[in-house]
């Protein structure tokens, strides 16, 4: 069963009568439980695509379906972690997380909601910062609170826009593994659409990498390292290096003198 279908989608931004095409005829099908990484040069429309999936904006042409229903707005089955920090300045870290949890778990008592939120903050390494206001946290910490909120809300579809961009190496690696754990291969796997600028991160995390080049899907690459998620093994493997070279070369392919010679897969 297909989970997310993007059918012939085009999107134009309209500013003061001037229209700017950000996406052109995108077709993309993401299966339930798939972990898809979207990479591509800055400004190619990745965040735009994610906003469409969330239902914050609507396509000018074509349609977006989730479980065969057209997307008409944000829904409880989906949750976004934005590229920019998206916490409410007037709530503490835990209140920010709890507010999200409350919307998807109305039947829970406030104690249970609090426990879930605390747990999520612990997982992203911010257990000791639960009662701090966003202005008291660093940029990367704020981003981790936003991630904790996304995880605690436990949605069927997780949409993440460069979530680890502002986070230090160690926390970044921990969070990658945390994310993989949460989306582990079980019956009811989450579908994840994950935007990143980091080629290594994409290869390590994804089942599939979608490379966007201005406005269109330029390449769609399946990744399969089996069930092994041993970082050192994967990173040392030939397949990994080949992929890495190929993806980097995609960023350079419009240059005449391409120092990254295209590697055929």
């Amino acid at each position: 069963m297909a989970k997310i279908e993007v059918v012939d989608v085009s999107l134009e931004y309209n500013d003061d009568g001037e229209s700017f095409p950000a996406l052109e005829n995108i077709n993309l099908t993401i299966d339930q439980g798939e972990f898809v990484c979207i990479i591509g040069p800055s400004g190619c429309g990745k965040s735009t695509l994610l906003s469409l999936l969330e239902g914050l904006i609507f396509p000018t042409k074509g349609k977006i379906m989730i479980d065969s229903c057209e997307v008409r707005g944000p829904g409880k089955d989906r949750c976004v972690v934005f590229q920019h920090y998206s916490l409410f300045a007037w709530f503490t870290a835990i209140q920010n997380v709890a507010l999200g949890v409350k919307q998807v778990a109305e039947h829970l008592s406030s104690k249970e909601i609090n426990d879930i939120s605390m747990n999520a903050l612990g997982k992203v390494g911010l257990g000791n910062y639960a009662n701090k206001y966003p202005y008291q946290l660093s940029g990367g910490m704020q981003q981790r609170v936003a991630i904790a909120r996304g995880l605690a809300m436990n949605p069927q579809i997780l949409l993440m826009d460069e979530p680890f961009g502002a986070i230090d190496t160690r926390n970044r690696l921990d969070l990658q593994d945390l994310l993989l754990d949460l989306c582990a291969k079980d019956e009811n796997r989450k579908t994840v659409v994950f935007i990143t600028h980091d080629v290594d991160e994409a290869i390590y995390l994804a089942d599939r990498i979608v490379f966007m080049d201005p406005k269109v899907v330029a390449e769609d690459i399946k990744i399969d390292f089996g069930d092994s998620r041993k970082r050192d093994e994967i990173f040392a493997s030939d397949a990994f290096m080949k992929l890495q070279r190929h993806l980097v070369s995609l960023f350079y392919r419009h240059l005449e003198k391409n120092i990254w010679k295209d590697v055929a897969l």
């Binding site: 944000p74 829904g75 934005f82 998206s86 507010l99």
Partner: protein
Amino acid sequence: MIRKFLALPTILYFILLYIAFTSGAIKTDDSTAFIVVLTGIEMFFICTEFKYGARNGGNLKERQSQNSRRDITAIIFAVMLWWELTTKVFGLVSKVLFPPLDNVFYVFVEDYPDMLKGIVNSLYLVFSGVGSGTVAGVAVGLLVGWIPRLRNTVAPIANVVAAVPALIYAPYVVAVSPSFKLASIFVIFLGCFWPTLMNMIGNIAGADKKLLDSARSLNLGTASMLFKVLLPYSVYPIIANLRIRVADAFMVLTFAEMIGSNVGLGFYVKRWSNFAKYNKVFAGIILIGVVVTAINKLIKLFENRFIKWK
């Protein structure tokens, strides 16, 4: 140490003190009140000078604010000195139109029961009017700002109504109302409600798109959206607006009292200017300034105490 005492404000203070204690070209009322005020200002200045002054290890920010405190004190004293020289010392101007400061401050001793009653009355009217006007303006603005259809209807109307100053229709409202109290509360309410409504609609219509997106993506219901996101988001603009509304309310009130009241700060000023007792007029004006400043300080205190985020 010596230099601290020889700072300009202190020199001016001693000159003023000398003038207060001696009699000049014009005979004045008892100067005690004036001396108390002078000494109060000087004491405050000296105390802060010792606490934050350049050589007492205050940090940069404290030293800077102490510098401006010194300048302000000097300016106040300089103006007072100029005033005293032209009036009391040399008697260059009319004693009635330009009363010596000794006489102005003596009013606070002479008239304090009247003034106190005036403060209580005026504050009651201002608090009722601004309080209800702000609450109503914020509540209506929140809802109207959030629902596009309401906004598009109400905003243009509010725009026109808010553009008419309350001072314009104050005389009419006072004339048709059964009691002055009701009339002035109502005028202050209106004078506060419309601008607050406009302000609130503006806050919400212009709210950060990223903030709204992140709230929408959490699937917040309308109530949560209004009270957990938009209301806290607008708190700082609401407080900034409140400050202006309080100052405005005093203007409207003073004006209204001049038409139809027999008690209150505005009435006090009006009455004594009818009797050409300008020392009392001056005292009344100073009192209103002090009261408004005190209210603003109170709002600031409230803000620091209850708003823990930035």
